[in-house]
Subunit: 200 residues, 2 copies
DNA sequence: TTGTTTGTGTATCGATCACTACATAAATTG
DNA sequence: CAATTTATGTAGTGATCGATACACAAACAA
């Protein structure tokens, strides 16, 4: 039995994409329902009937962000031939993604709710979990590089992973403050310059 | 002529300090007047009579933050014997300041209004200006190090400054996410590990 | 056609937002 | 003692917050 009642008058995915951009630009709390419905081209009852609540919409927007925007940054970590290439790609792809021009600057996961004490703890926790996952991803890749002989057994994989995600997070602030793609790429290169010293 | 009418019933500096902690923890927009007046132990009319507005109170809180909390991080940049020592101290002092225990984690300047599209543009711009000033401070110190012969003339002082402030900003996110002092110190050491490669 | 189901638009809801009018309290000045 | 000045507490202001009640529109099933 396909759809029963009146069909939806708008594209759910397109509306979600618009909502993602609003959350990305303004953050969770500062994105009002008026902002969201205006950007999505629908009225509040349609939003609630389709997505449930502002928070549920946000979680869907985060999932879409991770799937579309985040993938270009993180997807090659596992498949890159070396840990060095994997992390260099993460930082360079970050510089590119944060200055694309047609999307908000910086990372939604980092910038959308950094306060942790806002009205909605679940929103903060979800973003925090995503940030942590990125660090774990890098740490796993570094551990694999140790197993495969790319890096010495003495490598402090956790410290390196923390360091590189810290740079990646800091690049969000720089991007929001207007840093150019060239500046972000130079920051990435500076960060990678510690590779030799940290893996020997 | 010392004070004329009824004397103020609370300590202005103490109240400002309390307000600073609220803004530091919750950010500008998420800090409601109810939060502020509760923490400050006063009613709204006293707040407005003394500080003018929420925004004016915030600007005073930022100034107090820079003066008290930020000084321990940035004050030795000019006086440190070398640029290397100056920046190493910035990062180590950052790790210490962000995990003090009796103050909120991370930097108020970075975390209090990262969205730039919130209701109040002047608040965002003021914080952005403070962030930029930190980068310029580092860049000036690096240029001086080139003049004094500590660093070669080929050093890209602007790139290095951008890189180290990026790490310093990223540490705010890590601190908010619960990173320990040891973790932040290790991140600082990783960041400094690129010094040799970047200055030769 | 009639009944059922689902989506949409209008017009709100109570709660909270930053902010303030107003009367009173507490000090100095004459 | 007034008279003046400043601060405080109560009780609100209009605006906006996230979220909905409700009537109607548009599809299908019978």
């Amino acid at each position: 039995m396909p759809q029963r009642g009146r069909p939806r008058g708008f594209d759910r995915e397109e509306a979600l994409r618009r909502a993602m951009e609003v959350f990305w630009t303004r953050g969770y709390d500062n994105a009002s329902l008026a902002d969201l419905t205006r950007a999505m081209g629908i009225n509040a009852p349609s939003l609630y009937a389709t997505f449930g609540s502002k928070e549920a919409l946000f979680h869907e927007a985060v999932a879409l962000y991770v799937q579309t925007e985040g993938s270009g940054i993180w997807e090659q970590v596992e498949t890159a031939p070396t840990a060095h290439a994997a992390i260099a790609h993460v930082l360079h792809a970050t510089a590119e993604a944060f200055t694309r021009g047609d999307t908000p600057r910086g990372c939604m996961i980092v910038l959308a709710a950094p306060q942790m004490q806002g009205a909605n703890a679940q929103v903060c926790d979800a973003l925090k979990a995503h940030r942590k996952e990125n660090g774990c991803l890098l740490e796993r890749r570094l551990r694999r590089a140790v197993e495969e002989g790319e890096l010495p057994a003495s490598t402090d994989c956790r410290a390196l992973a923390s360091y590189f995600v810290t740079v990646q997070h800091g690049m969000s602030i720089q991007a929001r403050d207007g840093a150019s793609r060239e500046t972000l790429l130079r920051i990435a290169d500076c960060a990678m310059a510690s590779w030799e010293a940290l893996t020997s």
